[in-house]
């Protein structure tokens, strides 16, 4: 396999225009991953990467960080962001069928949650052909902590990134 040389911009462009799988989403909205829709969110001013890495999916509901501890958040300090986006890519040559769900909660000034449990924001079944990018928009912004969980009947490795966009002037 020959390595190819590409620039960051080129890499970014490939990510953006990579074909997206036909994800079946029950409550979460999915956007076509096209330059037109992605570009605003990659404006250097408005985006921050909250988490990025590899998650081993199995039959348990796991945080993207891999833990199964329901009281732990996946990302914290998300108060300033009005949207989160989860973009990922599953390894393997067989079709992807990964379940995901997003939970959120607010904390007080000592970092303690206002109450027990989480608010379920949405869930999705990500079903794509092999080697397709998927992207999920998490609608409810400004929660202090989110827990993003994944589960897959057949073990998969998912590389993914959680990015957040900040509020901006809307006409």
């Amino acid at each position: 396999m020959s390595a190819e040389r590409i620039t960051r911009r080129e890499m970014l462009k490939r990510l953006i225009v990579a074909p997206i799988g036909a994800a079946v989403l029950t409550t979460l909205e999915v956007r076509q991953a096209s330059a037109a829709t992605m570009q605003p969110y990659y404006d250097p001013y408005f985006v921050a990467v909250l988490w990025e890495g590899r998650t081993r999916c199995d039959s348990l509901w796991r945080s993207l960080k891999g833990d199964v501890v329901a009281i732990l958040p996946t990302v914290q300090g998300t108060t300033p962001y009005d949207r989160l986006y989860w973009t990922g890519y599953a390894l393997g040559s067989v079709p992807v069928n990964v379940n995901m769900r997003v939970l959120a909660r607010a904390v007080d000034l000592s970092g303690a949650p206002l109450g027990s449990g989480w608010r379920p924001i949405g869930q999705a079944a990500i079903q794509t052909p092999p080697q397709r990018w998927f992207r999920v928009e998490i609608p409810e912004g400004h929660w202090d902590e989110y827990r993003i969980e994944v589960r897959s009947a057949t073990p998969r490795l998912v590389y993914s990134r959680v990015i957040a966009s900040q509020g901006y002037w809307k006409e």
Binding site: L72, L109, A112
Partner: protein, 694 residues
């Protein structure tokens, strides 16, 4: 790095240990939280990196806990009747005592015989309390009470060889109890067992010395921290203040954890000069006007000459202003005009002795400003949120003094730069923006103005107070010198504009009602960020009588059956559970007086201490409610219970603040390395550090 372990009890309020985390983080420790959670038949400890079994002896958990410098266990609320709640499984750590294991601090976790989840080590030297046979398995004290200060005892800290009065509420039971030591096992442990604190019975007759804090190997068993489980020690609306914070800091000291930062310590008083207005002595020969003045003078001189040099703790205090403009109980009335307030209104002249005492009091305040005291003005004549016609001052050299014609309310306001400079407009700056205030209503030359909490009116009122303070000899105009603080009268906030007017004379800290205490206040002021440059603090009143219910009278000591509101026990029935004081006040006076004294001192010094541990509340006392029942022959005489009282006296004489401050000094000395005398700067720095953690 410290780990706090709480129990997660779905049926009750979740244990967030907010008060502990806030205080520990302010001291500069890194704090993690973990919870004991039940999963069916299993109990797991949820640490930041995952769940570990606690119902079995888990080597993985034991290894993991060795990452921490200390582990603190705080139960939600552990009554002796509560058997195997999740927190019971924390008793497993009593058996983890290898050198590599961390210190484990138990804050009020009971180990009663009904708690069978975990087998205790056979050499554990504290007798396990048996709820159905408490008398022989513990040392019983008074009736059950959820109030911590009621459980104040004379405690000997063995490491420091110090005796002081401390609330030591261990676990609720009926009756309340202290731990009983198994002397044989204790002796057998040698250096592995250590009595940290023991209780001296005073009026309680114990058959052996009760224990309230003990070190078993690397495990420190301490009394509870009340309300420590609150979601945010950092403050929530209506949140109960934590109690017995002493035991948290004392545990840190015993474990040997030094702080990165220190907590600022101050003492605070409102209406520093006030003596109350009774028309006659409480009984023939009881302390009266000149005795009250003598008591205030002697106490403040003692503070300045003995207490302050020893501790360097400053007294932040409010001097009642408005007297110069007619307030009959103002400092000006008493200290300058030499007239004392009368109950129901009006004043009468002091005699020559009283006038001399008032004069000395004023000289003392002037001398101590910026030394042992930080004095601010405190206008009870015109409360900051109360609209009404108000007298202007007329001192020379002040821009807003009568007869100068100045704005007193807003006119039409337009941001500068968007219109040509209009005629008859003044410029005002708010939050860095400049505005034209066009044709604002003005005072003319009148010596009164209509006060409302607007920027212009607040400036006039505050200048009046600055002038009054300067005329009384306080060069800084009454902003507490370097402390740059203000204490609002009646806890009123006024408005953001009032804060700006205070800021403009140098104030950076303001104690008022947060949230506003008065439904009439149009304000949603906040602790979370400065209001126009001024940080707000809440107040909690700590008095020996009811400053409102006592009318314009003053205190008559620990208990006064006929005029209860003038006494400590009469004002706070909570300190008199099952009437265990009032019922025996005359039949068993010495016992009753000792109990009342302990609870009073425990309440005062404990309240001061508990607010020190949090960056948003200041505890304060009133002179008339604490200093007007001192022995007229010796205002500084220490309290001594007696069954021979002056004829007609409701109770023994007591200098409440002297007793409270001396006991607080001992608490402060024991934990000196965690505290620093307060300055305006370090108080604000502490508050900002709290906010940075948000």
């Amino acid at each position: 790095m410290i780990l706090i372990i709480g129990d997660w009890r779905p049926e009750s309020f979740p244990n967030y240990a907010g008060a502990l985390t806030t205080t520990l983080r302010l001291l500069g420790y890194t704090v993690h939280r973990a919870w004991i959670v039940q999963r069916g038949a299993e109990f797991v400890l949820t640490l930041p990196d995952g769940e570990y079994p606690l119902h079995t002896d888990s080597p993985a958990l034991r290894t993991r806990l060795r990452d921490y410098n200390a582990v603190i266990i705080l139960p939600t609320y552990d009554r002796l009747v509560d058997a195997n709640f999740p927190i019971a499984y924390a008793l497993r750590f009593l058996s983890w005592s290898d050198p590599q294991d961390p210190p484990f601090v138990y804050l009020g976790v009971h180990f009663g015989t009904n708690r069978t989840a975990i087998a205790l080590p056979s050499d554990f030297p504290l007798v396990r309390p048996n709820p159905s046979n408490l008398a022989s398995t513990a040392h019983t004290t008074g009736p059950p009470s959820g109030n911590f200060a009621v459980q104040t005892h004379r405690v000997r800290l063995t490491r420091e060889q110090t005796e002081l009065y401390l609330a030591c509420f261990i676990n609720e039971s009926n009756p309340m109890h202290l731990w009983r030591l198994d002397t044989a096992k204790h002796n057998a442990l040698g250096s592995a067992g250590e009595v940290l604190a023991e209780v001296i019975g005073e009026d309680y007759a114990f058959d052996a010395t009760p224990v309230c804090a003990y070190r078993y190997k690397n495990c420190y068993l301490m009394p509870n921290v009340g309300f420590g489980i609150a979601p945010s020690g950092a403050y929530r609306h209506q949140q109960a203040r934590p109690q017995q914070m002493f035991w948290l800091l004392y545990a840190l000291k015993c474990v040997g954890l030094s702080p990165r930062y220190r907590l600022p310590v101050l003492l605070q008083m409102d209406d520093l000069q006030q003596i109350g207005g009774p028309l006659t002595p409480r009984f023939p020969g009881a302390p009266f006007v000149n005795d009250w003045l003598r008591a205030l003078l002697a106490t403040y001189e003692w503070y300045a000459n003995e207490f302050f040099p020893r501790t360097e703790i400053p007294l932040w205090a409010a001097l009642t202003t408005g007297g110069r403009y007619g307030l009959y109980y103002g400092a000006w009335t008493l200290l300058v005009d030499k007239r004392r307030m009368l109950q129901g209104g009006g004043t009468e002249p002091l005699d020559s002795t009283g006038a001399a005492l008032a004069d000395q009091l004023l000289r003392l305040f002037q001398r101590e400003q910026n030394r042992s005291m930080r004095l601010c003005f405190h206008d009870h004549d015109r409360l900051l949120n109360t609209t009404g016609s108000t007298t202007r001052h007329s001192d020379a050299g002040y821009p807003l003094a009568a007869p100068n014609d100045v704005p007193m309310a807003h006119g039409r306001i337009v941001r500068k730069g968007h219109i040509a400079p209009p005629a008859s407009a003044v410029e005002i700056e708010v939050d860095g923006e400049v505005y034209y205030d066009i044709n604002p209503p003005r005072t003319g030359s009148a010596n009164t103005f209509l006060y409302a909490p607007t920027l212009h009116a607040a400036r006039i009122l505050i200048e009046r107070n600055v002038a009054e303070m300067r005329a009384m000899g306080f060069a800084d105009g009454g902003i507490g010198g370097e402390a740059r603080f203000h204490i609002t009268a009646g806890e009123q906030f006024g408005s953001a504009a009032v804060m700006q007017a205070l800021y403009e004379i140098g104030v950076r800290i303001c104690r008022c009602g947060v949230p506003p205490l008065f439904a009439t206040e149009r304000s949603g002021n906040t602790l979370y960020r400065p209001v126009r440059g001024v940080w707000l603090f809440r107040g909690t009143v700590v008095d020996a009588a009811d400053a409102v219910g006592a009318g314009e009278l003053n205190t008559t000591g620990l208990y006064d059956a006929d005029q209860p509101r003038r006494s400590f026990i009469g004002t706070y029935p909570v300190f008199n559970p099952a009437n265990d004081i009032s019922d025996i006040w005359t039949t068993d006076p010495v016992r009753a007086q000792r109990r009342a004294y302990r609870r009073c001192v425990g309440h005062f010094s404990g309240s001061y201490f508990d607010t020190v541990a949090l960056p948003h509340t200041m505890a304060f006392s009133h002179a008339a409610m604490c200093l007007c029942w001192c022995d007229p022959t010796d205002p500084l005489r220490r309290f001594t219970p007696s069954d021979s009282l002056p004829s007609g006296s409701p109770g023994p004489y007591i200098n409440v603040l002297l007793e409270a401050w001396l006991n607080f000094e001992l608490m402060y000395r024991v934990l000196r390395e965690y505290f620093v005398p307060a300055t305006g700067e370090n108080v604000i720095a502490t508050r900002e550090r709290w906010m940075e953690g948000v």
